[in-house]
């Protein structure tokens, strides 16, 4: 596993485990165990900047006009473990 991949994997695991006290402990343990690859990944990104790009979605001027909203309640979900909706992608640039 390269450092950059370790960084990405750690971010995913942190997001999924980080909501409870026990989860936070596991995250800390994982981060310490992966300290070397995470450090290498951080240095790689700082020097090579392979993750950098122009954020066209936010840095391009745009106007949104005549917004029509249609929201229909379809049901309820109970006993959910995560504080975030599963599959939420509203801030992902290449969503469907």
């Amino acid at each position: 596993m390269t450092g950059v991949q370790a960084l990405a994997a750690a971010a995913d695991v942190t997001a999924s485990l980080g909501s409870s006290d026990e989860g936070s402990g596991k995250v800390m343990l994982l981060l310490l165990l992966l300290a070397g690859p995470l450090y290498a990944g951080w240095v790689h990104l700082r020097y090579r900047n392979t993750d950098k790009r122009h954020h066209h979605e936010s840095e391009t001027r745009s106007d949104m006009l005549d917004v029509q909203a249609q929201d229909v309640r379809t049901g309820a979900r109970t006993g959910l473990r995560s504080s975030r909706m599963q599959g939420a992608n509203s801030r992902k640039v290449r969503a469907p």
Partner: protein, 403 residues
Amino acid sequence: MSDLQAPRPVPDGERVVRTGGDGTDGIVRCERCGASEATLNVATGMLRCNFCRFEWSTQNALQAFDLDGAIGDLSGVVVGSGTADVTADPAVTLRCTACGADVVVDTTAAVHARCHWCRNTLSLTEQVPNGAVPDMLLPFSVSKDEAVKHVAEFVRKRTFYAHPRFRAEFQPENVMGVYLPYMVVDVNAHATVTGEGEHQTRSYTVQVRDSEGKTRSERRYDADVYDVRRSFDLHVDDLTVESSAQRLDRDTARTSNNVINTILPFDVENGVLYDPRYLQGFTSERRDVDVGVLRPAVLGQVSDIARWRVDETIAFYDRGVRWDTTDVDVRGERWVSAYLPVWLYSYLQTKRDGSTLLHYVAVNGRTGETMGSVPLNVPRLALVASVVEVFGAAAAAVLWVLT
């Protein structure tokens, strides 16, 4: 933007706005003294005759060609004549208007050549379909001295793990001013985004028993589920995309073009009429990608902008929204080709296996925004990362014992 796809059909009603002017190739003379040598004065943004020091500027291009009208009024496709599909040879033969000699200009990297007989500077002014003469140009406003400082400062912060050969050979004074080819696109569209959203209605704690019989608290959430749909008009202004196949290659294992992409955006609304004298003393890269090839990627970016903007309207869905479809119905588009100014420091790294990796440090020639790629000293990084790993593992062992 590496996802170039097959060209899509051009919508009906294409209108071409002529931006070529009346200039003819050859010697472009100073209006006051007739000299053929003029260059950009970066401090003022004006052209200056190198003999009589007369300074002048050219008109704002978008206003001059009426290419800055309301985006909501756009329908069909409007293109500047400088966006014509590239069909002609990049090598252009100019006839010197002073002595009659024929001089060849390779437009891949320049629009000027010096007549080898009479020493006059000959310039390419006419738009022929080889991508060398754009609709407009944005002059440099960041001087070379400032660019050198930006590049040196960027690399200075990244020296410890920099490759020793790069450190030894680093000369920020070698930064080059390059006019790179871009397309500037306005889009009038109607967007519809649909998906599912969750709104939290309750948050509470439950006691759960694990496999060892121990009880612990866990948080649970209840949420209402909604079908979410947003439909709106979207006006996108000055979306800027690279229009050279070389710059569109974003494979970071081969090149660092992504850092050049990162220094966007430019203040393209201040672009001026193309005059070859702005390019004197700089190099330029010819456009070699056409509107039809770029259109799918541009529409993809418009979809991204639509979803980004619609985020402003979904605050109610505090647990998030999963968008399932994004439909963009384009009513009008306006394409203008432009040369935009970039200071580039490049370094070709040859690896042990013989492969090469081209590193750039790029400075936006208008805003000074800087981004770059510095080759790594991999053995040194591996050594330090190993030491960090040993300490991390020791700390993890201590944490494990304590908890």
